[in-house]
């Protein structure tokens, strides 16, 4: 709605939905560029996946979990890993912009919506890449047969989406918390919690081979609401 009036403003500009997409793409590209500046950043991401995996599977593998426990415990660990990846990426999202004073240039140049969508898209791409690496390795390393791969993929996609968008929102909140100095962790908790519980539940169902039931629809609903909330709240958080 903000974007609408941008169409009839002084200097000539392309049609609005184009500008909207263009801005988002620019942000997305910027994030990746900054990340890939280190020559082997992708290898680093890969190493990251493996290392975390080894940590977990080592602490379970040789130290031993009965196969009976696997379907219960392993999905939890898988999602803990993903959550960890997202959260250790949080500072790069907004706090970094504030601290290195780049937020000002961004505020002046891009519309809040584009910023939010672009950044969420970036972390989504990272999470998905990570899932693509971690999950097969994980199931191979832990010798965890997956009864219903399709369902698992769906759970990963939806859960990853929720993590990315929710993470971006949490990052924005924390960036605020920086200035106000309050402990916002507790506030961010309800954003991530239901998501993870649902995702874990579905993953389990996928591994065990029984139906996910309405958890799937709930996860979908959650994703939708978190996206809406993000788009709605972010401008108010981002703008003075």
């Amino acid at each position: 709605m903000k974007r609408r009036d941008s169409s009839h403003q002084p200097q000539p500009r392309p049609a609005q939905q184009h500008t909207w997409f263009r801005e988002t793409a620019a942000i997305f590209l910027k994030e990746w560029r900054c990340e890939l500046r280190t020559r082997y950043a992708l290898n680093t991401l890969f190493l990251f996946a493996i290392t975390t995996l080894v940590v977990v599977s080592l602490s379970l593998g040789p130290l031993g979990v009965a196969t009976a426990e696997r379907t219960t415990v392993l999905p939890v660990l898988l999602w803990v890993i993903l959550l960890f990846a997202v959260i250790s990426g949080l500072p790069r999202t907004f706090v970094h912009e504030e601290e290195t004073r780049t937020a000002i240039a961004l505020r002046l140049s891009a519309s809040p919506t584009a910023i939010f969508v672009g950044k969420s898209a970036y972390s989504l791409s990272v999470v998905l890449a990570l899932e693509a690496v971690v999950t097969p390795l994980f199931s191979a390393m832990m010798q965890l047969p997956i009864a219903n791969p399709g369902l698992l993929a769906l759970a990963l996609a939806l859960g990853g989406y929720g993590l990315a968008v929710g993470g971006a929102l949490v990052a924005a909140i924390i960036a605020q918390a920086r200035s106000t100095g309050t402990l916002f962790a507790v506030l961010a908790l309800p954003i991530l919690l239901p998501l993870l519980v649902l995702a874990i539940f579905i993953s389990r169902a996928a591994i065990a081979g029984d139906g996910a039931g309405d958890a799937l629809t709930q996860l979908l609903l959650y994703d939708a609401t978190i996206s809406a909330a993000g788009l709605l709240l972010f401008p108010t958080i981002w703008n003075p």
Binding site: Y40, N43, V54, S57, P62
Partner: protein, 258 residues
């Protein structure tokens, strides 16, 4: 030294041939191992040992760089050693995995030995990741050397301490076990030692070559840099206001970035 080089090379070649021959014809198959599978021991163990030696040597070279006179070639030596160590480490893992397939039924079954050597692999893989993440050469040397020196502490833990104490392991006791007494068919032991020494020597030879290559690359960089210094006069500041001259001034600076 140079006069010795050729005979030494021949000696090494003979030793390696002897190992291969001995592995298959001289040493008897160890009892308690399925079929002839135990013969892989003579390649598996030396690889593991040599990789550890390489990692350790890398730590020492890095320490020499940091606390010595900060000569880049020491850092190059460390880098080469770690690259080589990673290669040998992978060899040990692969041979071990093949063996495990026969002995324990699966290529990968979270045996502590497997896990910890994999962690070692990750540790030194991270070393390369770190190198790639530091743009300024001087800083890169400093940081990566420090990390490699840290390896002097971590590697022994990963190779020797932890695999021994981390719960139950299928993996055989080391030749020199805790009591320090050697329990192994003397013929096997001879071949094993010969192989270990041989592979380690070979590794150091390759390492020497690799290091020299790295040093040469550095030299090439420096020559280009000195030419840059010499040819500086043609370049102007790149910070002048005339748009006409700007392109010519920015072009070379663009070339400078690495």
């Amino acid at each position: 030294m140079n006069t010795l080089r050729l005979p030494l090379a021949w000696l090494l070649w003979l030793a390696l041939c002897a190992t291969i021959w001995g592995a298959f014809f001289y040493a008897p198959p160890a009892e308690g191992f399925i079929g002839e599978s135990s013969r892989i021991l003579f390649f598996h163990v030396p690889a593991a040992w040599a990789s550890f030696v390489m990692f350790f040597a890398a730590g020492i070279w890095s320490a020499r760089y940091l606390f010595g006179s900060r000569q880049p070639r020491h850092d190059h030596a460390a880098q080469a050693a770690i690259e080589l160590g990673l290669l040998l480490c992978i060899l040990a893992i692969v041979t071990g995995a093949l063996w495990a397939r026969i002995m324990w039924g699966a290529y990968w079954n979270w045996d502590p030995r497997q896990v910890w050597i994999t962690v070692a692999l990750l540790f030194y893989g991270a070393y390369l990741a770190l190198r790639s993440a530091v743009p300024d050469p001087e800083t890169r040397r400093r940081l990566s050397s420090s990390y490699a020196v840290l390896g002097l502490i971590v590697a022994p833990f990963l190779f020797f301490v932890l695999p021994r104490m981390t719960g139950f392991s299928l993996h055989p006791e080391p030749v020199l076990n805790q009591q320090g007494k050697i329990e192994m068919n003397p013929r096997m032991l001879q071949v094993l030692l010969l192989g270990s020494v041989g592979l380690t020597a070979l590794s150091f030879w390759i390492h020497n070559l690799r290091t020299r290559v790295l040093v040469l690359w550095e030299k090439r960089e420096e020559r280009a840099y000195d030419e840059l210094l010499a040819s500086g006069s043609q370049q102007s500041t790149g910070l002048n206001s005339e748009p006409t001259t700007a392109p010519t001034t920015t072009a070379p600076t663009a070339g400078l970035e690495t």
